[in-house]
C-alpha cells in the first residue's frame, strides 16, 4: 500500500459530510444520551421481532444520515453496510428498501472501520462521488443468535459485555464540509489463543494493538499525534490489555485512549465490562465524536473499531477467538 505494508495515505481526502446515530432505550439512559440523534422508546421499534426491529433501526439511520447530508438516495453511489446477524440480514433488508447499490460487509464489530476504509478508497479512486457507510447491532438479536434465549435465567460473567442496540451511518463525499479521512491501516487477523467467548475484550485487544502499532510505525507518528485513539468495543478489561500490549512496544496510550464500549454505558447500568457490537462504534462515532469535531474540541482522532471473528460453531469446536481491528485517521479539514 502507498503508506506502508498495511497503511493507505489518502492524497485526496474524503469528507465525512454527515452522520446519524440511533440507539435503544438502555443506551439512551447512558452518559452519551444527549448526543444521540434518536433514542428509541422500546427496542422492538413497533416491529414483530427483534430482527425486524434492528433492520428498521438500521434503515432509519441510513435514511436520516443521507437526509442530513442534504442528498437524495439517488445521489449516493453505494451503500457499504454490515451487522452481526447471520447473512447480515439487517443490512440486506435495509438495502432492500433503498435505491442504492449495495455492498454488504462483515468484519464483526470492526465492520464500520472496514466500511469507512473501503468507502474512502472508492471515493479517492474517482469512481464514486458519494457513499454511505453504516452498521447496526441489537442486544436481543445478538443474545438469540450467539447466546441464550432472553428469558433464560443466566448470570453475566464479570468480563462479559453488553451488546449495544444501536446503528450509525456516515455519508462520505469528496466535496463538502466535515472532518476528513487522511489515512487508514487495514488490520490483519490476530489470534492470541483466547477461547473464552465471555471475554471478548481480551480476544480483540491484540488485534487492536498490532493495528495501532503498525499505523504509528508506518506513518512515523507518536501516539500523541492524535487527540484521541478511540477503539470500538474493547471494554474495561480489553482496554487494560491493550495498554499493556502497546507498552511492550514502547507506545503509551493511557492519556489519550477512549473506547466506545466504555463511553456508551456507565457503571450503574450493570454492563460489567461495557458495551460491544457492530453498532457500538458507529452510533458513538456518528454522534458524540462528530459533535466533538463540530465544536472544535478534537482536531485529530484515530478511530479503531475492533471485532471478534468467531461463530457459535467455531466456539463449540474448540477454536480460539481471532480478532481484527482497522484504524481510520480522521482530522479536521
Amino acid at each position: 500500500m502507498n503508506g506502508g505494508e498495511q497503511t493507505i495515505v489518502f492524497e485526496r481526502k474524503p469528507h465525512i459530510i454527515a452522520g446519524y446515530g440511533i440507539v435503544g432505550p438502555k443506551e439512551g439512559e447512558g452518559p452519551l444520551a444527549q448526543y444521540f440523534d434518536e433514542v428509541a422508546k422500546d427496542d422492538l421499534f413497533d416491529q414483530k421481532s427483534y430482527e425486524k426491529a434492528e433492520c428498521k433501526m438500521h434503515l432509519l439511520a441510513i435514511e436520516r444520515a443521507i437526509e442530513r447530508a442534504g442528498l437524495h438516495e439517488s445521489d449516493v453511489c453505494a451503500l457499504l453496510s454490515g451487522d452481526l446477524l447471520n447473512q447480515i440480514i439487517s443490512s440486506s433488508f435495509s438495502a432492500r428498501e433503498l435505491d442504492i447499490p449495495f455492498l454488504g460487509l462483515y468484519n464483526a464489530c470492526s465492520t464500520f472501520g472496514e466500511a469507512l476504509i473501503l468507502g474512502s478508497i472508492m471515493l479517492t479512486s474517482g469512481s464514486m462521488q458519494k457513499v454511505a457507510c453504516s452498521t447496526s447491532s441489537h442486544f436481543s438479536t445478538a443474545e438469540r443468535q450467539y447466546r441464550y434465549p432472553l428469558e433464560l435465567g443466566t448470570q453475566m460473567t464479570p468480563t462479559a459485555q453488553w451488546t449495544v442496540t444501536g446503528s450509525g451511518c456516515s455519508v462520505l463525499s469528496m466535496d463538502g464540509e466535515g472532518p476528513v479521512v487522511t489515512s487508514a491501516t487495514v488490520g490483519k487477523v490476530v489470534d492470541y489463543d483466547i477461547t473464552d467467548a465471555n471475554n471478548m475484550g481480551a480476544a480483540m485487544a491484540p488485534a487492536a494493538a498490532f493495528t495501532i502499532a503498525t499505523h504509528l510505525r508506518e506513518l512515523r507518528r507518536k501516539a500523541d499525534y492524535y487527540d484521541y485513539i478511540v477503539t470500538g468495543d474493547l471494554g474495561i478489561f480489553g482496554s487494560e490489555m491493550l495498554h499493556q500490549l502497546l507498552l511492550s512496544e514502547g507506545i503509551d496510550i493511557a492519556e489519550n485512549h477512549l473506547d466506545c464500549g466504555k463511553l456508551i454505558f456507565d457503571e450503574t447500568q450493570k454492563v460489567h465490562m461495557g458495551g460491544s457490537g457492530a453498532g457500538c462504534s458507529s452510533s458513538v462515532f456518528n454522534t458524540y465524536f462528530l459533535q466533538q469535531f463540530k465544536e472544535d474540541k478534537i482536531k485529530r482522532m484515530l478511530f479503531v473499531p475492533t471485532g471478534a471473528l468467531l461463530s457459535k460453531v467455531s466456539s463449540l469446536q474448540g477454536e480460539s477467538i481471532p480478532g481484527i481491528a482497522h484504524a481510520v485517521a480522521i482530522e479536521v479539514a
Binding site: 442486544f139 436481543s140 434465549p149 432472553l150 428469558e151 433464560l152 448470570q155
Partner: protein
C-alpha cells in the same frame, strides 16, 4: 418443632447444593446446561449406590427439588422396572418415572410460548 426442623434441613441442603453449583459457575465458566447435567448425574449416581434415600430422609425437598432429585427419580424408576419386567424395564423405567416432570415441562413450555412473548433484558 419437628416440621420446623424439616424445613431448616431442606433449606440447608438445598442451599448447599446450589452453592456448589454457584462455585462451578464462578470458577469453571460452565454453562447452565453442563451444570444441570453434572447435578443430574450426581443424583443418578447417589441413587445407584443407594445413598439417595438416607440423604432424602434428612433433607427432604432439599435434595429432591434440585435437579439432583430428578436424576435419582429416573434411576429409581429404571431399577424398579428392571426388577419387575427385566431388560425391557431397564429401557422404560427411567422415562416412565420422569414422565410427570417431562410432560409438565413440555405442556407448560408450549402453553407459555402461546401466551407470552420473550422480553429483552434490562
Amino acid at each position: 418443632m419437628d416440621i420446623f426442623l424439616q424445613f431448616l434441613q431442606a433449606f440447608a441442603v438445598g442451599g448447599f447444593i446450589c452453592l456448589i453449583g454457584q462455585l462451578l459457575i464462578n470458577y469453571t465458566k460452565m454453562t447452565s446446561s453442563r451444570i444441570l447435567v453434572i447435578f443430574l448425574l450426581l443424583g443418578a449416581l447417589l441413587e445407584g449406590v443407594q445413598l439417595f434415600d438416607p440423604i432424602e430422609s434428612f433433607a427432604g425437598c432439599g435434595i429432591t427439588i434440585p435437579i439432583v432429585g430428578f436424576g435419582a427419580v429416573l434411576v429409581k424408576g429404571a431399577v424398579k422396572a428392571m426388577h419387575e419386567t427385566g431388560l425391557l424395564g431397564v429401557l422404560t423405567g427411567g422415562i416412565v418415572a420422569g414422565a410427570a416432570g417431562l410432560a409438565a415441562a413440555i405442556l407448560f413450555g408450549f402453553l407459555m410460548s402461546v401466551l407470552f412473548k420473550s422480553r429483552t433484558k434490562s
